[in-house]
């Protein structure tokens, strides 16, 4: 984590701004929420990036950041937390957008190609779903039999 952040500061040409003390380790969900709420009140950050496998902390942290007027970016693939992310954050990354964000920002050809490939697989699977519905309705359960195999 420290190396990742150090490198990010270095890449932006401001290595002197990096302070390892800004990285706080919190061992657990409730201690993390408490620590973040305290940090928000003390330091009043301008932005909050809340990305990952979030649980009940999404609404608590999101609302606390709203109270202090911070700009928020939220992202999760956890469907139960998506409504809270949408309700509290200014910008959201939902589901697959979360995994495509790095490719979108970096513009690296290999990463972009993987997203394009993913879209083609999606179309292919969608076509298979439609074909499966037609075959199943016509009394030929070929695809469902194949999936059960």
């Amino acid at each position: 984590m420290e190396e990742t952040l150090r490198l990010a500061y270095l890449r932006e040409g401001k290595p002197e701004k990096f302070d390892p003390k800004c990285i706080n380790y919190q061992p657990g969900q409730s201690p993390m929420v408490t620590a973040i709420l305290g940090t928000f009140q003390r330091e009043r950050p301008a932005a909050n990036f809340m990305i990952g496998g979030l649980y009940y902390e999404s609404v608590v942290i999101g609302e606390a950041a709203n109270f202090i007027g911070a700009m928020q970016v939220g992202g999760t693939a956890n469907t139960h937390q998506m409504p809270f992310i949408v309700a509290t954050c200014d910008y959201v990354l939902l589901g697959e957008e979360l995994y495509a964000a790095a490719a979108y920002i970096s513009k690296e050809p290999i990463q972009i190609a993987s997203i394009a490939g993913e879209n083609w697989i999606k179309f292919l699977l969608l076509a298979l779903v439609v074909l499966g519905i037609i075959l199943e309705s016509a009394g030929y359960p070929l695809i469902s039999d194949f999936l059960r195999w």
Binding site: M1, M82, A87, Y99
Partner: protein
């Protein structure tokens, strides 16, 4: 020597091999390979334990700094952290059922966690207030759907209009479930592609090393 092991190629090779091994075992269960994957999973548990220790060292470094510099409003809490860590570590090593260890968990940690979880209700209330403001057509639809679902989950809803529970059920099963499944489906596909990018070394942000292969 240490810099050799921190080179991007080495890290990508290790993560690629392990990802490939686990993926292959998932799709093509080969006898013997499953045992190897089991060993890898045990290693993962061991590495997680090391991460916990590393996390504590990181936290200890910061809190020692606060104590040494007597940072106002911080150093007493940092000192308290070390005292509690020492008490709980020693009592936990003696026995998990020892009085300070069990007492702290039962009467301090658990109630504090439950209290924090309980205040989520207030945060949901204020988030819902903002989300349900009918400023656009979409927000208006959300507001109506939200009211119907809330009423449908209470007994008063049926008293107001006996069709509310039926509409509520339709919204949750026919309206919500397909949308959630579509999100899950595409997210799962995105995760597989992300795993593939990790496998081939195209995704290297998690390594904390530069893209050029150096450390």
């Amino acid at each position: 020597m240490a810099t050799v092991f921190r080179r991007a190629e080495i890290l990508i090779l290790i993560s690629g091999m392990l990802t490939g091994l686990i993926l292959f075992d998932y799709f093509f269960p080969v006898p013997g390979l499953s045992d190897a994957v089991g060993v890898v999973n045990t290693w993962a548990a061991g590495v997680s334990a090391f991460a916990l220790a590393l996390g504590f060292l990181s936290a200890a470094r910061i809190h020692l700094y606060y104590i040494q510099r007597r940072i106002p409003g911080r150093w007493p809490f940092s000192l308290w952290l070390f005292i509690l860590t020492a008490v709980l570590t020693v009592s936990g090593l003696i026995s998990e059922g020892s009085l300070p260890y069990a007492w702290c968990f039962k009467w301090v940690f658990t109630p504090l966690g439950a209290t924090l979880y309980a205040i989520t209700g207030f945060y949901i209330f204020s988030a819902a207030y903002r989300a349900f403001r009918a400023r656009s057509l979409e927000a208006g639809i959300l507001l109506v759907a939200g009211i119907i679902v809330m009423l449908g989950n209470t007994t008063i809803g049926e008293l107001i209009w006996n069709q509310i529970p039926i509409i509520n059920e339709w919204l949750q099963l026919t309206g919500q479930t397909p949308a959630m499944r579509a999100l899950l489906f595409t997210a799962s596909l995105g995760l597989v592609i992300f795993g593939f990018r990790v496998l081939i070394g195209a995704e290297r942000g998690y390594l904390g090393v530069s893209g050029e292969g150096g450390s």
